[in-house]
């Protein structure tokens, strides 16, 4: 230890290692698995897979997003998501009770859910301020306990719509069909449906994608990346010169990445005559053997993006910044005159309210409101998703949400079909895909939780 630090022999290798540790080894493995699954997806399944993956991303996105305020305010991932979900379910039930349909029905459900979840969030925040340092454990028990209590609640609530209550006896149904009400209300806005008949062909511009990826990485490596330099042992002029060239280099890099993106987009999608040949050469061609179709739930995805944007904006606001400070360094925030408990309250309340909205987005796409024990299953997947996305239990960004939900839900959607293809011989009474789905889900959750340190954790 006492000897001088050795000069690395191969600095490129060291830098690559640094990049990998920045990405986070766990995230890298999951991402590679994701790419592997993409490659394994059989040609015939492509349209179906795309619709499934996008739908599931939209369904779970807001629930993953609700982890952001809770992590940033220092509560850790919100393990009390089921608690917030109860508010969402109540909101949905109110809309159904008054026979509201379509987007209006969904909007009413969301507003009701927000109104109900606000005091619940405050209650949760109050509780979290009482149990500092064991937030995650207490939140888990609290969420589970509230779901159990609501099991009684569902039996007693005075809803009268026949769609909600059992036809005989008291109480509400296990699942409530949203199809006649606001099922798919979001999904249907601007939804893109594309049908393919047997014999139709489809071109996937894989080649263009690969070119774009490779060129972008090279540009990043050459121009944008921050180099490993010895700040303290550099001469002033050297540092000044370095910083000057760095700024210019970065600018060049960003402009070239933007350029190559535009070029690739044109190459892949633009309808210009002489490009067709190139595109065709760079694409994988699929000829369908049977009728199939692809659906893109535009409305739901746009809703997710809007939610993410709002959250991003909040993170840049004065309150958002003070909340993050209270979360990442309470002592420092206190010295700046910030009321830590208030910030934690804000984080908890936002998280609970978002999870209430999240379940409604989920339910409208799924087509059913699920009561009783169903909320329990919604707790761990969003946490696993954001952790895989690169968040830690102390830091979370919007990028972590998006990367996490794409990787997690993508793998969950593609994994079982592909594995099922190889396991189909085993199916005996039980659907092998379902077994595999359970194994993969829990596997990823476990893996994500062991990597709770997040991307680029300090060494």
């Amino acid at each position: 230890m006492s000897s001088e630090p050795k000069k690395p022999k191969n600095s490129t290798l060291v830098e690559i290692k640094k990049v990998i540790s920045n990405i986070g080894i766990s995230r890298l493995i999951v991402a590679l698995f994701f790419v592997f699954l993409l490659c394994m997806t059989a040609k015939q399944e492509v349209p179906g897979t795309i619709s499934n993956v996008l739908t599931r991303i939209g369904m779970h996105g807001v629930l993953v997003l609700c982890m952001v305020p809770s992590i940033r305010s220092g509560l850790g991932p919100n393990f009390a998501v089921p608690f917030g979900i109860l508010a969402g379910l109540l909101g949905g039930l109110i809309a159904v009770q008054f026979n509201m349909t379509g987007l209006g029905g969904f909007a009413v459900a969301v507003v009701c859910a927000l109104i109900i979840s606000f005091p619940m969030g405050l209650l949760f925040g109050y509780l979290m301020n009482r149990v500092k340092n064991s937030e995650m454990m207490v939140a888990t028990y609290f969420g589970y306990a509230m779901v159990a209590i609501m099991c009684i609640g569902w039996l007693l609530l005075p809803f009268t719509n026949n769609a909600i209550t059992w036809s005989m006896g008291k109480g509400l149904r296990n699942t409530i069909n949203l199809e006649p009400y606001f099922g798919n209300a979001l999904n249907n806005i601007g939804a893109i449906t594309k049908s393919y008949n047997a014999g139709d062909t489809m071109m996937i511009p894989v080649g263009v994608l690969v070119i774009w990826l490779v060129v972008s990485i090279v540009l990043y490596w050459v121009f944008i990346r921050t180099r490993d330099i010895d700040l303290d042992n550099m001469k002033d002029e050297e540092l000044a010169a370095y910083n000057k060239t760095r700024k210019e280099r970065k600018k060049t890099g960003i402009i070239s990445v933007a350029l190559i993106t535009v070029v690739c987009a044109v190459l892949a999608f633009a309808d210009i005559g002489f490009l067709h040949g190139i595109r065709s050469a760079l694409s994988v061609h699929i000829t369908f053997k049977s009728n199939t179709s692809m659906e893109i739930p535009t409305g739901m995805l746009v809703f997710l993006v809007l939610c993410c944007f709002a959250m991003w904006l909040f993170n840049k606001s004065k309150t958002g910044i003070s909340m993050a400070a209270a979360g990442s360094n309470p002592d420092c925030a206190r010295a700046s005159g910030i009321n830590i408990n208030k910030q934690r309250m804000i984080g908890a309340t936002m998280s609970i309210m978002l999870s209430a909205v999240g379940i409604l987005v989920y339910a409208q796409s799924f087509g059913f409101l699920q009561l009783y024990n169903a909320p329990l299953n919604m707790c761990f997947p969003p946490i696993a998703a954001i952790l895989i996305g690169g968040a830690s239990i102390k830091q979370a960004k919007i990028s972590h949400v998006l990367i996490g939900v794409v990787l997690f839900q993508g793998i969950l959607t593609m994994g079982p079909t592909i594995a099922g293809r190889y396991l189909s011989g085993l199916g005996d009474g039980m659907d092998p895909t379902e077994i595999v789905r359970i194994i993969i889900t829990n596997g990823i959750i476990l893996y994500a939780l062991t990597k709770a340190g997040g991307a680029s954790s300090e060494e």
Binding site: M1, S2, T226, I229, L231, D232, M234, D236, L239, Y242, N243, R246, K247, L313, K316, S317, K318, T319, I321, S322, A325, S328, N329, D331, C332, A333, R334, A335, S336, G337, I338, N339, Q395, E458
Partner: protein, 534 residues
Amino acid sequence: MGDAYVLQMKNIGKEYSGNPVLKGIDLKVKPGEIHALLGENGAGKSTLMNVLFGMPVIHNTGGYTGEICLDGEKVHISSPKHAMDLGIGMVHQEFMLIPGFAVYENLKLNREVTKPNAVSRVAGKSYESLDNGQMRADTKEALDKVGMDLDTDEMVGELPVGHMQFLEIAREIDKKGVRILVFDEPTAVLNETEASRLLESMKRLAGMGIAIIFITHRLQEVIDVCDTVTILRDGSLVTNCQVKDTDAVQLAEMMVGRNVSYSDISGRVDKFDDSDIVLEFRNFSVDMPGEQVKNIDLKVRRGEIIGIGGLAGQGKLGIPNGAMGLYPASGELLYEGKALPLNHTKKILEKGISFLSEDRKKIGLILSESIEDNMVFNAMQIKREYLFDFKLFSFRNNKKIAEFADQMIHEFDIRCVGRKQQVQNLSGGNQQKVCLAKALALNPKVLFVSEPTRGIDIGAKKLVLDKLKELSWNQGITIILVSSELMELRSICDRIVIVCGGKVADILSPREDDAKFGLAMAGTKAEKEAEKTS
């Protein structure tokens, strides 16, 4: 003659990665002698004791030079266990006792007296049963030696703090063959009566032929009980002498003296007087663990740089932390003649009082955030600056933030690859500059600065101090500078307050004699004055 010494440390040297921290130290102790080891914080006392105890921190960093002789025999002490076997004991400053155990159990912990039983005859020595009677008897004996009358069965957790120190000593005595005992500031946590009892028992132990090395900051105690004294300063030996040949003033001078050249002192001694007071502490107490402030009264004059010095643990850090509301404070704090709400950080910051914390990693900065975000954080939260302010929803104004950050990076010469770099990747000195920029972003009228140069390199040190001076001289900001480096205080302050035991010991001009500073730090000023008047 040399054989008469029980311990001789000859020409001890030690360096940590090239920085010499001990240079040619000699120390000799005779049996039955109480030997004082004096020096400021960081003078090298602890390192010297670590060498004596063969602490791993010494051996892991390249060992030491020079030699240690016990009873005239050269030894190489390789580990604390080895030191113990050689009969060297240590009474720690922090108590190493288990509250839930009885007195005798603590005393005999891991050295239990056991007697064989049926099981142990088969299963081995570790199954022997405890001989509680013998252990109680041993404990009683050891406690008697220290002069302590205590029930051996009492729980340690229920004892007053003062008694714990005696238990620690009794435990060392109880170890067989103790020849040398080191007391590391044992009186720091004791009240006066307890301290005098401790000194009594030290004398008694010395009477039994045990050599005692007594580390303390209280010069009066040295005069009272010690026979010989060794003074260290900046890792060098100042003197070995007989206590009877000297007095407290001389000792203080030797402890602090650095032959300050007067050109280094820039204080504007006569410029300020009590007619314009910006901040006034009245009967001000702070409950900061380890840095208690007890009922101080202090007036800060507008525009001056007032230094607060003193030894570690005497309460100097408590003053800024209490004033800013980071630790519970009581009493009165007047700003511009009006009482400030105590313990309400936000309101205090809003008044234009800013703080540069001594703990920049924990309190000063958010390490995972960027340079620019750290710099404007307080200004944004307190003064709503650097924002697009829509009252209810206010968003960060990236352009203004960037302007300010770039200006500060340039002005302070912060070494970074850009304002968006995370502060955790900066060196200590550059982090401190970010902290200073953060405090200045608030445009403070009064600035508390706590240990601004701790753990930063010389270049950054100079820059930070020069900047502080400039702020006060050119911009009229009142600065309250807390530092454990007296040199630093004397170089830029206009007045220096020395605190001791949580109280103001003395207020001195930076041009005052070394001895006065030394005496004030050792808390002997009051006694001296009492002598004069009587």
